[in-house]
Each structure stands twice: as C-alpha cells, then as structure tokens.
C-alpha cells in the first residue's frame, strides 16, 4: 500500500474519539397519548365547563354535610314543608320562606293571631251577600316558618327556671299566657295553642270596635294572665310557647332551610347532598369494579380465545338478553333483606355491567393480537402478561376510559329511577336518595313544588354536565370518531 507521504501520520486522528453520535434531543416538549388527549379535551369549552360543574357538584355533596347547620337525620316536624329561606335575601322579598296564599276568614284570623305569620296583606274579597256559605277571603303573604305559631309544652321545673333566666337575660319573650279553654267556642280550636282570641262557633274572630282580636287568656284571682299550669303532681309545668322563639332559645338562631324542608321536616339541602354522595360513591364504585372485571375477563377471552371465549360469549349473550329492570328487581327481592339495599344494588350493577367493557377489550385483542409488532415482541421473548398489558391493552385505553366514565351518569340515573319507582328502598333516617326525594315530593307538587324542584334540578344539572363532559372525553381520546361530528 502506498500512503501519501506528504501527510504526516501524527496529523491523523480518530473521528469517533469524543464525538456523540446519538440522536439530538427534541427541541420541543414530547407529547404522550394522555397529554395529547388532555390538550384536545381542553379545546372543547363546553366539556371543560361540564367537568368543572361536576367537580363542584361532587364537592357540594362531600362538604355540605359538614358545614350545614342541619344533619342528615335532623328533623323538625313543626317545620314540615317550610319554604326555602336565605337570611341574606329574605329582606329583599324573595327566597324568604314566604308563600302567597288565599285563605278564608277563619284561617286568616288564626294567622293574624300569630306574630310574624302574615307578612303582607295583599287583598281582601268581601263576603258574598247572596251566598251565605261564601265568607270573605284574604290574599296574604304567609311566612311558612312563623305560621307554626304557639305550641303547648310540658317541661320540668328546671327547664322552667332556665327559660325564665333566658327571658331575663335576652329580653326575648318565650312563654305566653295559657288559654282559657272554657271560652274556646269552635270545636276545631279546642286544643289549638294558637286560638288565644275570642271566636264564634265557626272559628271566626269576634273583634272589638277597633278591629283588634280579644284575648281569652286564663286568669288568676287577681286578673293577671297565667303563664304556667302544674301537671303531674306539680313536678312539671304546662306552658305555651311561641315555637320560633323556643327554637331560637334551643339553637341560638331562627330556623332557615336554604332549600326548604320536606314532608318530614328534613332539610332538603343536606338530604340532597347525602343522596348525591351515595349516588357518586355507588356509581364510581360500580364503574371501577366493572372496569377491572371487564378488562380481566375481556383480556383472557380475547388473548387466549378457545373454549373459555366460547363459553363466556354464550354467558354474555344470555345475560344481555334479560331486561335490566328484571335483574334489579330480583336482586332487590332476594338480597335486600340479607345484605341491605345498597349492597344488593351494587351486586346487580356488577352482575351485568362488565359485559360491555369486556366486549370492547375482547374486540381490541382480536384486532391486534395477530399483528406483526405483537409477533415481534413475542419473538423477542415477551411473556403473555407483558404482551397483554404493555402491547395490546393500551390500544383500547381511550374507548375503555370513555366507556367507564360514561357509565357513571347512567348508574346514577338508574339508581334514581329505581328508588323513584319504589323497587329500591333507600329511605331511612340517615340515608336517602334523589329518586326517593322525587317520589316523596311528587305528592305535593302543586302545593309545595320546592320539595321536587331542588332534587330534580340537581339530577338534571348533573346529567347535562356528565353528557357534555363525556362527549369531550370521547372526542379527546378517540380523535378518529370526530369525523362525523366535525365534517
């Protein structure tokens, strides 16, 4: 060999001595599948709003029981059907727990005798002179909290002393004079603590010349009204109290239910939150369990195929044909008395819920398990579990995530429907469900629509938001499905 002589050997150097010959780093940030999906999701404004509202509703369900004045099992039968009231707005004339009603003369007299009950007297229609049955009617704005009025209480001596001390300290009158029952003419008012005024037999007040009510208090020998009457060997007192001040004395403030109270006097706000909490827990639990079961069964079916696949497919076909309502009913009838309604509902949801996920997963496996990259991985010695979880399953992750998120609202809706129909009974003192509240509220739809309005609005809002959120999620994870929508 002839080397060129005019280049000295020492001028040569090894090219690769220090050179770094691998790929350059990406200048831009790497974008993975999830990140890409999230980026697409963020572009869809309505889905983002839907997601935010869902989070707010979940937080509402979680936090309300802690910050509310009332507990789930707090009930006050005196305030049954009390209307929604917010102390901030009550001065402005709405959200004030008041109701506009038209009442006859007797009822009007009774409400007028209660301090604070008649907020505003709107109009009066005089009695019909030709028809004696028709008395005059009054259109009034009635405070549904104050209208409870006076009640009789039997208290111990100690409690009596406490009340007197409270009255002295705060200057709020709690005790009111007892009524002389011999002067009560109307039969209906015989035991009514609110009938402290003189009436005729029909219960219409007999007023004095100035139109004021005339009291019929029980008097002692000196003509002073009596505030207490001993009962039960004199160890206890019978007293007549104004319920709102009595409530204030016990609880420190007046009652006010933000969403009103239902037929049993439960606070609707906290009952909705507790019902929603149950729904969320149940639906997320169902979704998670079905996701797990579906992936497990679907992978085995799809990857190994054969007899197992054949048998599972027949079982699925059979389960799929039975109407879900029949499955729910049978689970309730069989298991509700043994493991409780919630657990048997959970079982029913799981019983057929995995079918959909497992079919999706199975289809993914059939599509991808014969492809070259899987064969390459197998040739390189990848085990079955690695092929399943690293190579094939991630292909369908978008579908699977979307399907299990979308199953949450349908679970909530099923639960509400079943409890509305009465097939599922979730109503106890410490637990309720939106469906039960709807069912209870329906009977008083015309007189007290608030019992129905708030649960119905809650579930409608939740469903709209979940649908918006789900649509965005589907588009984000499966951009190829957008074709039909975007055109």
């Amino acid at each position: 060999m002839n080397y060129p002589e005019h280049i000295p050997a020492k001028k040569f150097e090894f090219v690769q001595q220090d050179a770094q010959i691998h790929d350059l780093k990406f200048e831009t940030e790497p974008v993975g599948y999830l990140k890409d999906a999230f980026r697409r999701f963020r572009k869809n404004k309505s889905s983002v709003i839907g997601g935010i509202v869902i989070i707010i509703l979940i937080l509402f369900a979680l936090i309300t029981p802690f910050i509310s004045r009332y507990g789930v099992s707090d009930r006050d039968a005196y305030y049954a059907y009390a209307l929604p009231k917010n102390n901030l707005f009550s001065k402005l004339g709405f959200w004030d727990g008041c109701q506009t009603v038209t009442v006859n003369q007797q009822t009007y007299d009774r409400y007028e005798a209660i301090p604070g009950a008649v907020v505003k007297h709107i109009s009066e229609e005089a009695a019909d002179a030709r028809d004696s049955r028709k008395g005059s009617t009054h259109k009034i704005r009635l405070d549904t909290y104050a209208k409870v009025g006076y009640i009789y209480k039997t208290i111990t001596d100690q409690e009596y002393q406490d009340i007197l001390a409270y009255e002295k300290k705060t200057g709020i009158q709690v005790l009111y004079p007892l009524i002389d029952s011999s002067q009560v003419k109307a039969a209906a008012y015989q035991n009514d603590a609110n009938a402290w005024y003189l009436t005729n037999e029909k219960g219409v007040a007999k007023r004095d010349k100035e139109g004021k009510l005339r009291d019929i208090y029980l008097l002692d020998e000196e003509g002073n009204p009596l505030y207490t009457k001993p009962v039960g060997n004199g160890t206890q007192h019978e007293v007549r109290v104004l319920y709102s001040t009595w409530y204030q004395m016990l609880n420190g403030e007046h009652a006010s239910f933000l969403f009103g109270a239902d037929a049993n006097g439960y606070d609707i706000l906290v009952r909705i939150a507790s019902g929603a909490r149950l729904s969320f827990l149940l639906s997320i639990g169902v979704s998670a369990i079905n996701l797990f079961l579906g992936i497990f069964i679907g992978s085995l079916e799809g990857y190994y195929g054969g007899k197992f696949d054949l048998i599972m497919e027949r079982i699925k076909e059979f389960l799929y044909e039975i109407p879900t309502i029949v499955i729910f009913s049978l689970f309730q009838l069989h298991l509700a008395s043994k493991v409780g309604p919630v657990v048997s509902l959970l079982f029913a949801f799981i019983f057929f819920g995995w079918i959909h996920t497992s079919s999706t997963v199975r289809a993914q496996f059939y599509r991808f398990k014969g492809q070259e990259y899987v064969m390459a991985a197998r040739t390189l010695g990848a085990k079955d579990s690695r092929l399943i979880f690293r190579h094939i399953l991630p292909n369908g992750i978008g579908y699977i995530i979307t399907a299990s998120v979308l199953s949450i609202p349908s679970t909530i809706l099923s639960e509400a429907s079943l409890s509305y129909l009465g097939i599922l009974n979730l109503q106890t003192d410490t637990m309720t469900s939106i469906g039960t509240m709807l069912s209870n509220g329906q009977s008083t739809l015309s007189t007290y629509p608030h019992c129905l309005f708030f649960p119905a609005a809650f579930i409608a809002l939740l469903m709209i938001c979940f649908n918006m959120f789900g649509n965005g999620l589907r588009d984000a994870f499966n951009p190829s499905l957008r074709g039909a929508d975007e055109g």
Partner: protein, 323 residues
Amino acid sequence: MKKYIAKRIMLMFVTAFVTMTVLFVLIRLLPNHVHAALGGYAKQEEMMREAWGYNKPIIVQYGIFLKNVFTEWNWGFCTEVGTYLQPVTEYVTSKLPATIYINVISVVFSIPLGVIFGVIAANYKNRWQDHIINFFIMLFISVPSFVFAFFLQYIVGFKLGLLPLVMKSGTDYFTWAMLRSAIMPILAMSFYIIAGDMRYVRAELTETMTSDYMLLARTKGLTRRQALFRHALRNSMVPLVPTFLADVIYVISGSMIIEQIFAVPGIGKVFVLSVTSRDYSVLQFVAMFYTCIDLVAALLFDLSYGLIDPRIRMGGGKNNELS
C-alpha cells in the same frame, strides 16, 4: 339467508326458555307467602299452599308450570295485584292498550319530527340552526324524562291548567278527552326519542354528505337541496330504519316512570306493582314478556340490516358469502 333466519329464531327460543327457567327458579325461591285471603289462619294458609303446589319440589313445580303454560296458556293467577284469582294473562293483557296507546302516538309523533330536525341540522351544518338543534339534542338526551314530566305537570297541568294532571282512566281511547289527558305523558316520552333520532339522522347525513357520490351529484349539476333529498337522505336512512323499528317494538314495553308519574294504567305500572307488592305470578309473566320483547327486537334489528341493505350479507362466513 333463510337458514340464518331459522337459526336465529331457534336460538331465540332457546334463550327464552333458559330465561324462563332461571326466572321461575329465582322467583319460586323467594320467601313465598300465600295471600291470606281467609283472614290469615295458619291452617287455611297451609291448605292453600298444598292446593297451589307450593309444597312440592321445585322441579315438579316447574313441570306443572310448563304443562299449564304450553297446554292451556295458563300462567297462574293474580294474588296481590288486580282482582284476586284473576288469570295473570287476562290481567296483564287488559293493561296493554293504555301502554300501546301512549307509545304508538309518541313514536308516530316523534320519528317524523326527529328526521325533519335532523335533516335541518345536517343541511345547515355549523350555522345557527344547527347550533340551536344541537343544544336541544343535548338538553333532551341528558335531562331525565321524569324531570320533563314534573316540569310539564307543574307548569302546563297545574299553573296554566291547560291539561289534566294525570291520564284519564277508562277504555274510551278514541275520544278527545282521553287524547287530551294523554298529551302530557306522550310529550314527556317523546323528547328523548326525538332527540335520539335527531342525533342519528344528523350524524348519518353529515357523513353521507362528504362521500364521493355526493360530489358527483353536485358536479353533474344537481342543486344542494336536490342532492340532499334524492341521494344523501335515502342512503343515510339505511342504518336508521332498524333504529326506528326498534323504537316501534319497544312501544309495548312502556315507560315505567312516565306511567307512574301520570298514573297511566299500563304494563310498566303492573311490573312495578308486582315487585313492590310481591305478586310472583304476575312478576314472572311480565318479566317473561319483557324478555321476549327484547329478544324479538334484537332479532328484527339484526335482520332488518340485511333486508334493507343487500350489501350486508347476513350470517355469512369470513368471506362474506351467502350461506
């Protein structure tokens, strides 16, 4: 094709039979008390259990049940719901007309509306008409039908007093009074069907509009409207007809919630009553009834694809040949 249909129908009967067996066993295993018609005396109750065959082994009971069903069409008698000892078949059949009445009207009313609005949305894609229709699709699909039902009942029925709050009882289905009382349940039920149909029609039609033959149709000189109605609409109806068919079949299964809210004396209400008051013979029959509807609907749904679109080969093997 014929072989495939025969196979599917056979399979359907097998599934129905298996379901019936499972339902029978599950229902008979429930704590089965006999309605104490005679004042709850233990001896009488025992005699009734004996007479009605509840003391025999369950397989024997099933044999008797099958014999009664297949020879006399006797599914047992009502105990808790309906008239005492009335045959179940008679009782349930008497409840069918009300359900069918409401559902038929609602389907007949919804499908054309759904198609019309779907076509409008597809035609005015991404314009304001489309956005408004999309908003309503979202609203009607998401909001549960009972919320609409309450809303209608309160606003239209109670506040405005335009329509009766609940459906009229009786069997005079072709009178104005009956139709008037059925308007609200029909409306409450229709929103969901209309929205579903609108969504399908819109999605199908927009996809068809992007296909090559639509471009050809426009190129050869058809106006947009002509191309839409003569070519796109016809083709996009193919996958929609099975959906409408399923709508029609589900007509007789009824909506339990709507029937409950508007006091419709229909089949959905019978099912709920049979569960809550535990009348097991009625439950068995209605559950079987629902199962059969599901099976028939699924079968027709599958077959109609092949009947409407000859390109789809039913039951073909992997080469998509006729079997």
